[in-house]
Amino acid sequence: MDRLRVLMLSWEYPPRVIGGLATHVKHLTEELRNIGVEIILLTCNYPGAPETEKLGNMTVKRVESYTAPTPDFASWVLLMNINMEREAVKTVKEWGRVDIVHAHDWLVAKPAISIKHLCRVPLISTIHSTEQGRRRGLHTDYQRMIHQIEWWLTYESWKVVCCSNYMKEEVVRFFNTPSDKIIVIPNGVDRNQFNGYSCLKDFRSRYAAENEKIILYVGRLVPEKGVDVLLRAMPSVLNSHPEAKLVVVGEGYYKEELMRVAGQLNIFPKAHFTGYVDDETLRRLYKCATVAVFPSLYEPFGIVALEAMASGVPVIVSDVGGLSEIVENNVNGLKVEANDSDSLSRAISYLLDNPETAERLKQNAFKKVAETYDWRSIAERTRALYMKTLEEASGNPWIRGNLPAAPRVLQ
């Protein structure tokens, strides 16, 4: 067979980084192309980013997404989808053949489904999270609409990829997707990106005094991340460990409320909100942290916990979702009840009091990351899924390549 050709669709790709999706697609595509998969990635344009970028045997095309005014985010997405669909058609025409369409999340569902039918190729989707999970229920028509688009994408997909068993169960429960259609392939982390960084004194002094121990949170500041639970744990931690210092890294619409809570708890200046930080600063911050805490209430995967583990920081996570699958309690991290600040403050204090335990946990965590969450092996599993899908599709009369004559579509 000729080299495998995949048309991948994702609304996020660096430099457009909103959540973990951009990082996932970046690393996945990097490793897929290293193992010989040819990729055209369609994504949204971004100020300053080139319209077309050639990266080895991958081409990134950024489609126009800012032209017309729209009343809300979903309408913006669906309008952007028109341009993405047109670009996808042009791409297939230029390429001559596409073997697989791979869509990431509901934001590209419409162009992915259209291309599937126009080109008659199998569609694979990755569901990174669900609206029902993110919102802890479906409360408005807007949320129900997104939920139904997510369902529609899984319905049209040959196979659905989820990053954890937790997400698989969620997709089965929320969308009635047959579980045999779902493949679990975890997210990964690039360990090399944390090499070569150390905790420099000058840098550290921007966030904490010399004698202070940094308790680090990294992530979006939205309710489901449970940052308020961490804030509520801090008075008790500070009571027994006045040398502790909480550093909260990230941005989000919940930031003001969190700062209000921190003010009410009277934990300033022992809490520091850094806002958004660049990758280099983040990697240095990991090196300076004594413990990293991820207190999510909802977490499909939890890539930031992997980053902390790869950086050599002991982690404390809430016992939910993907975090629960990554961390084995008291083996490579500590797990606490979600939404329980007492349990969280005890765990933080325990690690601050027991540096030899913290050392053991971080060494085991580092090993686990290397064994299970390596992007190369994730890309190999993804390629194997592509190949298996093509094998299954090979006898299917619906598939383009199995039809006796090519019609006028895409010629």
């Binding site: 309408s75 309008l79 807007y142 139904q148 006028r408």
Partner: protein, 204 residues
């Protein structure tokens, strides 16, 4: 000649005058010997039936909750694409695809890139007229779709003098491909057939 009509209204779904106009066009074209295929949105039906010589494909929206007409039309357009793609893969010879109003135009915007079939766009009205030029953000989105589909269409048919004048004013660059076909005139169907023949000939 094999024609596909795309519409969001077709009997028994009657919301405004669109339903009756498309029904009249479909029946008249069928009587003139055209192979007429209507793709019509329907809340409850799916599949295909032949009504008075006209093949009607019922298209349902896979997404039932919506926040505005644009999101509704967007997800519906994907179903038009799916059914049209099936038709094209199974019986490739479609001579003309004719979309009515902005709500059906969305499917054609992407299909235009994929399928070389000539494309006729009908407007009974325009967002500019409906809103008396006081466009909300949603109105501006719809106007963008109307403008984009007008730019892509091989022929544009206005079904009233007011719409015809507004298209000329808003989109002067499309005057050469603009036709006025009013359905209160006796020879409306003949005029439409002339548009089809003209666009068909120009496509070779």
């Amino acid at each position: 000649m094999r024609i596909v009509l795309l519409t969001t209204e077709f009997p028994p779904r009657i919301v405004g005058e669109l339903s009756n106009i498309v029904s009249f066009i479909a029946r008249s074209l069928s009587n003139e010997g055209f192979d007429v295929n209507v793709m019509a949105f329907d809340d409850w039906r799916s599949g295909f039936e032949v009504k008075g010589g006209v093949k009607v494909y019922y298209v349902s929206n896979k997404v039932s909750s919506h926040v505005n007409p644009f999101t509704w039309a967007s997800s519906l357009s994907c179903e038009y694409t799916r059914i049209l793609a099936d038709l094209l893969w199974e019986q490739p010879s479609i001579d003309i695809i004719h979309a009515f109003e902005w709500s059906s135009a969305l499917a054609l915007i992407s299909l235009k890139e994929a399928v070389p079939t000539p494309y006729v766009q009908s407007f009974l009205s325009l967002e500019e007229l409906r809103s008396h030029s006081n466009l909300s953000l949603l109105g501006q989105t719809i106007k963008w779709v109307e403008s984009f589909s007008a730019s892509l269409a091989d022929r544009i048919v206005a079904h009233s003098a007011a719409t015809y004048s507004m298209i000329r004013a808003l989109y002067p660059w499309c005057v050469k491909k603009l036709h006025l076909v009013e359905f209160n005139s006796m020879n409306a169907v003949e005029e439409l057939i002339r548009v089809y023949e003209e666009v068909s000939e120009s496509h070779g």
